[in-house]
């Protein structure tokens, strides 16, 4: 066994009661980057284990949802779709939405699901919801390929605007992380949260212009309030980046601010609750 580094300069860790509100320690988080990597990798590896179709599910899910949505809203209810073929219209919104939904589902139960780690080993707890959000990105990447294929089928040209998808995806991830931080920390104390999440997701989906175009909501104050839902800006931005049309104006700005607010408050809330996780979970 090799000699450990026992120089007197070895880092000193202090134990003391933590009080009040704490910020996030980015330096510490960076030193745990490998753990983030491995936990994300585990979540991805495990998700489709022992499923016959395996990773194909990440393609099937958006395809099936798109088909159902198209049938119900496009064909039966004849909802407007900004002049686009309804399947493409729906899929372009369902992609970021699925990313958000999956991230939220996984991250909200992540702390409770990893209680064996939390009660046994120290690491910054924020890593857990964070890595479950990251794991959802893989599904997203796969289904993004699906979107480009279907756009090619419908002969819809791409513009340079398509690169706006990257910052918009980041915004989605941050939005999911922000809500995930709140919900996962609350779920440690109140298991009601995990019962509530499916309803929350359902309501949230209808509060986002996925099956209907944003133009359904009248412009002005109402549209601004509507944009407080971060996914409004994201979905609107996605459609613009892919198909052109009305650019995401104030909507995106309001949505981004809402994400920022949720994220900062979520981080503080999480850090405040963090110290009790091991005792309560």
């Amino acid at each position: 066994m090799a000699e450990a580094d026992l120089t007197p300069t070895a880092q000193i860790v202090t134990l003391k009661p933590t009080k009040g509100w704490l910020g996030i320690d980015l330096k510490e988080l960076w030193s745990y980057r490998e753990l983030i990597y491995f936990l994300t990798w585990r979540d991805i590896k495990v998700r489709y284990k022992q499923a016959v179709l395996g990773v194909a599910w990440s393609v099937l899910q958006p395809v099936l949802t798109t088909a159902i949505t198209t049938l119900v809203f496009g064909v039966l209810l004849k909802v407007k779709s900004d002049g686009l073929p309804y399947p493409v219209f729906a899929l372009s919104a369902l992609l970021p939405w699925h990313l958000f939904q999956l991230s939220l589902q996984k991250s909200s139960v992540s702390l409770v699901g990893n209680s064996n780690l939390i009660t046994k080993v120290y690491f910054p707890r924020v890593i857990i919801p964070f890595s479950s959000v990251l794991a959802a990105l893989v599904d997203f990447a796969i289904s993004l390929v699906m979107l480009f294929i279907s756009m090619a089928i419908y002969r819809i040209p791409l513009s340079w605007n398509v690169f706006w998808i990257l910052p918009l995806t980041l915004l989605t991830v941050l939005a999911a992380l922000a809500v995930g931080l709140w919900l996962s920390a609350l779920n440690v104390q109140y298991r009601d949260v995990q019962q509530m999440v499916p309803f929350l997701i359902q309501i949230w989906m209808y509060a986002t212009p996925i099956v209907y175009p944003i133009t359904t909501i009248p412009e002005g104050t109402l549209r601004y309030i509507y944009s407080l839902n971060p996914m409004v800006g994201v979905v609107q931005g996605f459609r613009w980046a892919l198909f052109g049309g009305s650019p995401p104006d104030m909507t995106l700005l309001i949505s981004s601010l809402a994400v920022l607010l949720l994220l900062v408050s979520g981080l503080f809330f999480f850090r405040r609750m963090e110290k009790t996780f091991a005792d309560v979970v």
């Binding site: 066994m1 090799a2 000699e3 450990a4 580094d5 026992l6 007197p8 070895a10 880092q11 000193i12 860790v13 202090t14 134990l15 003391k16 009661p17 933590t18 490998e34 753990l35 990597y37 491995f38 936990l39 990798w41 585990r42 590896k45 495990v46 284990k49 022992q50 990893n114 064996n116 780690l117 939390i118 009660t119 046994k120 080993v121 120290y122 690491f123 104390q189 109140y190 298991r191 009601d192 110290k275 009790t276 091991a278 005792d279 309560v280």
Partner: protein
Amino acid sequence: MMDSELSILVRGIGKRYKIGSAQQRADTLRDLITAQAARISSRLRGKGRRSSEPDHIWALRDVNFEVKRGQALGIIGRNGAGKSTLLKVLSRVTDPTEGYGELRGRVGSLLEVGTGFHPELTGRENIFLNGAILGMHKKEIAARFDEIVAFSEVEKFIDTPVKRYSSGMYLRLAFAVAAHLEPEILVVDEVLAVGDADFQRKCLGKMGDVASSGRTVLFVSHNMSAILRLTQESIVLDKGRVLLRAPSNEAVDFYLNRGLSKMGERFWEEDEVPVSCAPFRPLAIRILDKTGQVSDSVRSVDPIQIEIDYELSEDITGLRVGFYLFTTRGEPVFTSFDIDSEQLFREYTARPAGVYTSRCTIPPDTLNEGRFLLGINASSYGIRRYFQDDQALSFSVDASGGPGTHWPESRPGPVRPVLDWNIERKGGV
């Protein structure tokens, strides 16, 4: 700032748990609302707060000690004495409520082997995952990978999901990863309770290596011989406080003679039993001599009676209540359960709620002289373990009058049976 010779410094550390959160935590909003409503209504009725019941308990209080670099310190104490809480505070899993401490360097905790193992992942994948969770870098894990696999003796199955492993293989692999951690401070809790005797020996050897390579080790165990072998000094914890810090042999003696109940009988107060044991609640365990008197010291030539009193708040199916008998060195002598016999097993498949005594007799001429420990276990096989306390009670056996006592020598071994010898003369000279 602490002296550079020190590795751990702890000053006045205390950890308080709210009874509301530690024991009957509000799991759902409904529970919280009902609890709040009950509190408000009792206040309205003018009863005020239940002043007799404190709403918090101190799992640790005013704990002070330091550990030099390269020292192995044992931590001894009964279940509930605060050992696990102390290790949790030191490994930063939970914050102390008061006090201050400093640790020099990386702390690796082995609070339970296999933490974070995922059944669906292969042995290889779990080594990396578990290593990362325990704080190893990917490069370190890769460098030690072969060593870890060799130590675990599961080479052939390294690419098989661990859910297909036998429990022995699983534990060996888990321990192998943990044992190859190289933090400056290693915190170990009861890992030696796993595996077969051979593997335990191997683990003890590995722990010895860690200590002798200049790392600091904190070692918690109920196995007194492991404590004596691995540590030079130990602290004895009781009710969250440090009772004694002394060379390990003194600490072990102190603990065995004073830390446990003395009079051959042990009662469990309601607050000593975790709520999670319900519907089982141990009430008492006692040793009776042949006259039926509670006694701490019995004779090997007499029958020894053991009684376990307990209460079931609900019906339990398949419950068995029994004990482990250990020597004070922690070596098991035998295990026995109240429904071991075919007939009682059939008669007591289900036990209705109520208060019970399970009583048994150790026949005369079974045990050798010395001191023994009784551990109690209440479980439904394959379903659930309700309660276990490996050190419920200790007692002494006096062998005078037993076989071979006409020689004034002490005989090794925990049992002293009367065997049926006969001597045959095969012929004359």
